[in-house]
């Protein structure tokens, strides 16, 4: 079960009440991880409206998760 580092921004940070999280997860992909988090924190945004960054590079949602990976979900930009 890989241990993943997460950093939250914007509404995801508000939903989780935290900026960062270290998480042991059984999820095999970033998409599965997001589903897991969504079930816990009630994220409203669907993955299709976001981009994914793993280890500071943009990746597809089927990106496999590895021990120590840094995952960031990039929420949509609004306003401005």
């Amino acid at each position: 079960m890989p241990r993943i580092e997460l950093e939250y921004f914007a509404q995801l940070s508000e939903a989780t009440g935290q900026r960062t999280e270290t998480r042991d997860t059984a999820a095999l992909t970033a998409a599965a991880l997001y589903d897991e988090l969504r079930a816990q924190y009630g994220f409203v945004l669907p993955p299709g409206r976001m981009r994914l960054a793993v280890n500071t590079a943009c990746r597809p949602w089927d990106q496999e998760l590895r021990e120590g990976g840094m995952v960031v979900f990039i929420t949509p930009v609004t306003g401005g």
């Binding site: 509404q11 299709g48 500071t56 930009v77 401005g80």
Partner: protein, 151 residues
């Protein structure tokens, strides 16, 4: 890696207001004969709702890779001498400069093209859902990259 896209003169964090004069100074080159810039200002509405201010958050590490790619593309695609771009983070009020792009080139057409076309069209100015805002500035070469705005 070209050093043109960062400027030692511009060391203020992205949380500070955009200093367009300092950024323009970064672009002064002997071989340049034209300068073109664009400023993106915070809008007063979003989806018809009033927006008194906006908060941009940044995921800085990704700025390095994404920002470098965009600037390399711009420099490769257009006959321009140099380019500097930045995007604010933090709280902005309506009318504040959220994004700034400046290009210098030997000729005006290249300066206009480099500023308004190509790579820059992939750089959302805070309104394109699902896309990152690329931001570049300050002494760490790249400041915020993903400006996650919320009204």
């Amino acid at each position: 890696m070209k050093e043109a896209w960062w400027c030692s003169l511009h060391r203020s964090p992205a949380d500070d207001p955009v200093d367009s004069v300092a950024l323009r100074t970064c672009l002064l080159r002997a071989e340049a004969r034209g300068f073109c810039s664009f400023e993106g200002w915070v809008r007063p509405t979003n989806d018809s709702r009033p927006v008194p201010r906006i908060a941009y958050e940044a995921y800085a590490p990704l700025a390095v890779t994404e920002g470098q790619t965009i600037l390399d593309e711009a420099l490769a695609r257009f006959h321009i001498t140099d380019v500097v771009a930045t995007h604010r983070s933090g709280y902005l009020r309506v009318g504040d400069i959220a994004a700034w792009i400046g290009v210098v080139a030997p000729h005006r057409n290249a300066a206009f093209s480099g500023c308004r076309s190509g790579s820059w069209s992939t750089m959302p100015m805070g309104r394109s859902a699902g896309s990152p805002v690329i931001a570049m500035n300050n002494s760490s070469r790249v400041g915020p990259i993903l400006a996650l705005a919320r009204p």
